[in-house]
Amino acid sequence: MRALTTLVNMLFRSWHRSWTAVFFGILFPVMLLLVFGSIFGAPSTPNYSLYVRNLDINEHGKASQLSAAFVEILNNSVFEVILLSPDETPRQTAFAPLRILTIPKGFTSQLINRTIQTRIDIMIDTSLRFVEMSGGEIGPEERENITRGLSRLRAFRESIAAENVKLVLEGSPDDPTLQPLAGVIHTLASRFEMALLNATNSIDLETVTTVKRQLRAVDYYLPGYIAAFVMTNGVIGVSGVVSDFRRRGLVKLLATTPLSKTTWITALIISQTLVSMILLTVMLAMGWIVFRISALPDLYSLIIILVGTVSYTSLGVLIGSVLKEPGAVSALSNAVAFPLMFLSGAFWPLEIMPELMQQIARLTPLYYFHTALRQTLIAGLPSEAIIPSAVMATMTVVVFSLAYYISKWKDF
């Protein structure tokens, strides 16, 4: 027991005195959480850039009153309007999709004419309904006058040359927001037209704020990063320690003492568990201080982290024991850890990945680790963590057994 505690103590000391280990084990995940949590996690209103080419201008280049009012409405909505001169074409300078709305020449006159036509249509329709509903209260002579008046109105309507105003929205076929934004523009145009008709809305939309907080990006990253870096600390860190101890002759020296292989592997697991707990504490503290995520780990979360630590530490022991060359150990551990990190969905929500990548993510063991941790730590749904935990536990038994039986304490 004393040998185990001393070994754990020394392994932990050598870890915290190594700047590389502390940086990649603790500081790097904290940096990632702060950077990505800030970039994607701030609950701000999305703002979509929209170039507007207004061709409805007078001879002095000044926009007509109605077209300017419409642009103002666009600018007060979700759009960030950037005005273009009639012959100007914007250059693609960033990854933001390029959207150009063209307001045609004659926007004002066409809109006014169409509005008058609409008003006449409403007037005729209303008058006919009134005549129909009044029955015998209206005499034949009055009826005749109404009919004559409506005919004149129709004739006037026909005399107005008017076509629908045609706005043109240009955008990339790769821009998934193009169609939804076209719908927004259409709605705004309709409301603008309704305002010109002095019509009032008949349908109101009430937005009610629910008590339950919506999960933010940082809620996704936090358990994802904890799981990913428990994994890298185990796979890359432990394999490096084992390989380094072997290269220095320390494993041979320890193997000539009464110390057993079981004690050696157990010490590696316990020291890594300490590292995982530090990682968890620091990440949760940063999450609370910067993003106000009040996630307190329950016993289930701690067990999940322990199982993950055992699993990936065992994998590190396995890699460090199987390969002799430190360079080969480093290459293999990186070749295992990095695809796991990026394919498992630990770094970004699975929903934004293509279907094929989602399928691949579900085949990676790390997916089950961060999913189980998210369900318990963030979502508060421990029942949803049962299946992922079971997958993790199975993997842990398999990898630990392999590490135990394949790692050598003799005949190196």
Binding site: A3, T6, M10, R13, L250, L254
Partner: protein
């Protein structure tokens, strides 16, 4: 095996695939002696000591360490309690201090006693708080020796303890090894330095290509192989031919360099007269017969500074 023997190796063979690393090796190490396994790189020295340290399983044969069989699990457990090991090319943990490194091994050995005495003996107590990475090469090797000696083992295996050290650090290490012998420890030393083996050992075994070429006490071997002196002559081939014709056995000849063994100074004068009569004006070097000359006689090659046969 007698109670006076620390190690008995009985017909040990170790085969790796097609490579026979050890071929039917037998030897004995007495308690309280410094025994050196001498040989070039790849001769099988480390394989043999690692079998005795219970780190490798022999293909066939048996060995006993302090009376315990290396094939018996209970024996292995007992052996691990009484040996101290300095592995080849050993380095402790860079991020731990000297004291922490030694404490690490002490706890692995289940040592309850204080590590301070051994650290003071090796001059490490003053630097106990210094990180291992900050030590000089000689100090690092001292830490390795301290790690081997912690727990007061009865038998100490030192695998190439002075390889890569500067002359001063090497001499310091020799002093520690002599102190071990004085303290009654049994030391099994592997080395490719003839001078080291000769200065430190009571007995040596030459190991070449997995076989024991020769085993015995240092003085015994020197006298068994004629004693006397070894004369190294640097001359051209014609002059060396004259020496050969004069009845002297040339033991080694390479690129104008040859060695001749002589019994005493009278014979030396005779040889010098012969050389002078043929107009010799080169360089001669006279040394008492040594392990190096014996190895040369047996194997027909020297061991270089780096441990290779030349």
């Amino acid at each position: 095996m007698t109670i006076l023997e620390a190690v008995v190796v009985d017909k040990i063979t170790k085969i790796y695939g097609a490579l026979v690393a050890l071929d039917n090796v037998s030897l004995r190490v007495r308690k309280g002696e410094v025994f050196s396994l001498l040989g070039p790189n790849g001769a099988g020295k480390t394989t043999l000591v690692e079998i005795l340290e219970c780190l490798r399983t022999p293909t066939s044969g048996e060995a006993y360490v302090m009376g315990h069989s290396i094939r018996d699990p209970a024996g292995v457990k007992r052996i691990k309690e009484v040996i101290g090991v300095l592995p080849q090319d050993f380095n402790a943990v860079d991020e731990l201090t000297v004291l922490e490194n030694i404490t690490l091994v002490a706890s692995a050995k289940h040592v309850k006693s204080d590590v301070r005495p051994i650290m003071e003996e090796l001059g490490l107590w003053e630097v106990r708080k210094r990180l291992f990475s900050k030590l000089s090469g000689g100090m690092k090797r001292r830490v390795g020796i301290a790690m081997a000696l912690v727990g007061d083992p009865e038998l100490v295996f030192l695998d190439e303890p002075t390889t890569g050290l500067d002359p001063q650090a090497r001499r310091e290490t020799w002093r520690f090894i002599r102190n071990l012998r004085r303290g009654g420890k049994t030391v099994v030393l592997t080395t490719h330095y003839m001078e080291e083996a000769e200065r430190l050992s009571d007995r040596v075994a030459f190991i070449v290509k997995g076989r024991i070429a020769l085993e015995g006490g240092v003085t015994e071997l020197v006298s068994r192989f004629g004693g006397g002196y070894v004369v190294t002559i640097e001359a051209d081939d014609e002059m060396l031919l004259r020496v050969s014709e004069g009845g002297y056995a040339i033991e080694k000849q390479s690129a104008g360099r040859a060695q001749v063994r002589i019994g005493g100074w009278a014979e030396m004068v005779k040889l010098y007269t012969l050389l002078q009569s043929h107009g010799f004006d080169g360089v001669i070097e006279v040394k008492p017969a040594s392990l190096e000359s014996i190895f040369l006689s047996l194997v027909g090659a020297r061991i270089s500074e780096t441990g290779d046969l030349v």
